[in-house]
């Protein structure tokens, strides 16, 4: 475990470390979701019995399956088990200390398979690229220096989501110019109420009269989260959907960082005064209050990140845990498998409906909180004049 964690620390940001902690802590990652208690118990049991992923005696390992799904991957898995699975290899792009290296991940798909690139020999271990030296040992220094820019499963999914958004919004925008003055039609009439909802219920009420310049950001972030949440729920064959994209902590971190940077840029004197020296508060209390306010400045985007990450990841874990139950019981006897399957599928459909709500709600909450933070950062000092 420590070597894995150490390995994580050389990824681009330290937030990825947190993702690593979550991914490698199947018991805790599963345990915080109250609604999947039954499933969690069983997953934990199989984890204990199977002895982790090193014991490949044909037993179904739910923990491994779930972690594999919610994590990122260098290949786009279509169907099948280990060894004889059908998948599309994705390009590996590495920026090593000796230069750029681009090759297909099909060279690394078997366990312990080595690929000799231009600069080093590489091996894929738990979805991390390792540099192997002549003696067959891991070259720690070179491994640490690697910046992995690969087109992974999540990146493909992200590009697909972006393409879909471009298609939707370019065609809707076109409809407004060609059908000027007429009632909205088709996709336009689906998108328009949502845009109006974001404008009237989120931007106008939380930001105030200067809401207009934030609309592009708020709409982008809303639709990005909403559409990718929905795509993440639907595994369409041969399309890069069903990935845990918005439940990837790096994605959430970038979105939260955008909000944070915008807050920093637009914030006025009044906002900073309230953080460093709250007006009308005596000095002894300020000594306690100011550190809390400064911490709060960073905590707000941090919680934005964690909220989206945890909600979406938990949704994926629940669905997979219910499906895993079928196979756990199916291993004991076929009848039990079929029996559990009916219940399990019914519950998954129920949870899927809940997740539809969550997909919208998380997009809404992220946008709403961003808008509220923008509003508070630009607030003029009205209350002070009255005091």
């Amino acid at each position: 475990m420590p070597s894995k964690i150490k390995y994580f620390s050389n990824r681009i940001t330290s937030v990825v470390l947190l993702a690593g902690l979550l991914l490698f802590s199947s018991p805790v990652a599963l345990a915080y979701e109250p609604s999947s208690e039954i499933a969690v118990e069983d997953t934990l049991k199989t984890d204990a019995v199977g002895g982790g992923e090193h014991e490949k005696d044909g037993k179904f390992n739910a923990g491994e399956l779930i972690l594999e799904h919610i994590g990122d991957s260098h290949q786009w898995h279509l169907w099948g088990d280990h060894g004889h699975s059908v998948h599309i290899p994705l390009p590996v792009i590495l920026y090593t200390d000796k230069g750029l290296e681009i090759f297909s991940s099909s060279h690394l798909e078997h366990h312990d398979e080595l690929y000799t690139g231009k600069h080093y020999k590489y091996r894929l271990s738990h979805e991390h690229i390792e540099v192997i030296d002549e003696a067959g040992m891991i070259n720690e220094k070179a491994t640490k220096a690697i910046i992995d820019l690969s087109i992974t499963k999540n990146v493909v999914s992200l590009l697909f989501g972006a393409a879909l958004m471009l298609f939707i919004f370019i065609s809707v925008a076109k409809a407004y110019t060609t059908r000027q003055g007429k009632a909205p039609k088709g996709l336009q009439s689906f998108i328009e109420p949502i845009i109006l909802f974001v404008r009237d219920d989120i931007a106008k009420t939380s930001i105030g009269p200067k809401y207009e310049k934030f609309m592009p950001y708020l709409l982008t972030v809303f639709f990005f989260i909403f559409i990718n949440n929905l795509l993440g729920m639907i595994p369409i064959p041969f399309l890069p959907t069903g990935t845990n994209l918005t439940g990837n902590i790096a994605i959430c971190a970038v979105l939260a960082a955008f909000t944070f940077v915008i807050i920093l840029v637009i914030s006025n004197k009044h906002y900073w005064r309230h953080i460093f020296a709250m007006p009308g508060v005596p000095l002894p209390i300020l000594i306690i209050l100011t550190p809390i306010e400064i911490l709060g400045l960073f905590l707000r985007p941090f919680v934005l990140m964690i909220r989206l990450f945890a909600n979406i990841t938990a949704g994926h874990i629940i669905a997979l845990a219910f499906f895993s139950l079928i196979f756990i019981f199916g291993e004991k006897s076929a009848g039990a498998g079929y029996g559990v399957a009916t219940v399990s599928v019914a519950f998954t459909i129920f949870m899927g409906m809940m997740e539809l709500l969550v997909a919208f709600l998380q997009a809404y909450v992220f946008t709403l909180l961003s808008a509220i933070y923008f509003g508070s950062a630009m607030e003029e000092s009205h209350s002070e004049e009255h005091h």
């Binding site: 902690l21 805790v28 109250p34 919680v303 964690i306 945890a310 709403l368 909180l369």
Partner: protein
């Protein structure tokens, strides 16, 4: 060696307990928000939109507190 294994198990147990208590707190908190929101909607059905958005906002903030607890629990496991 034995003691480290024992300590690890203890850490995991305590962390799981902490996550559970946090979930309990969130349950109470969100339950109260939902209950009060229902009550106020029953009193003033015309204010349903304002109440709903404020309810969701408050629930999101409660959730935020739980995520802190969750992160702390994770840090306990992987100190």
């Amino acid at each position: 060696m034995m003691s480290t294994v024992l300590l690890d198990t203890l850490h995991q147990g305590v962390a799981a307990l902490g996550a559970g208590v946090a979930a309990l707190g969130a349950g109470v908190g969100i339950g109260r928000i939902g209950g009060s929101a229902l009550e106020s909607i029953a009193r003033q059905p015309e204010a349903i939109n304002d109440i709903r958005s404020n309810m969701i906002l408050a629930a999101a903030l409660v959730e935020g507190a739980v995520f802190f607890a969750m992160v702390v629990a994770l840090l306990v496991v992987f100190k």
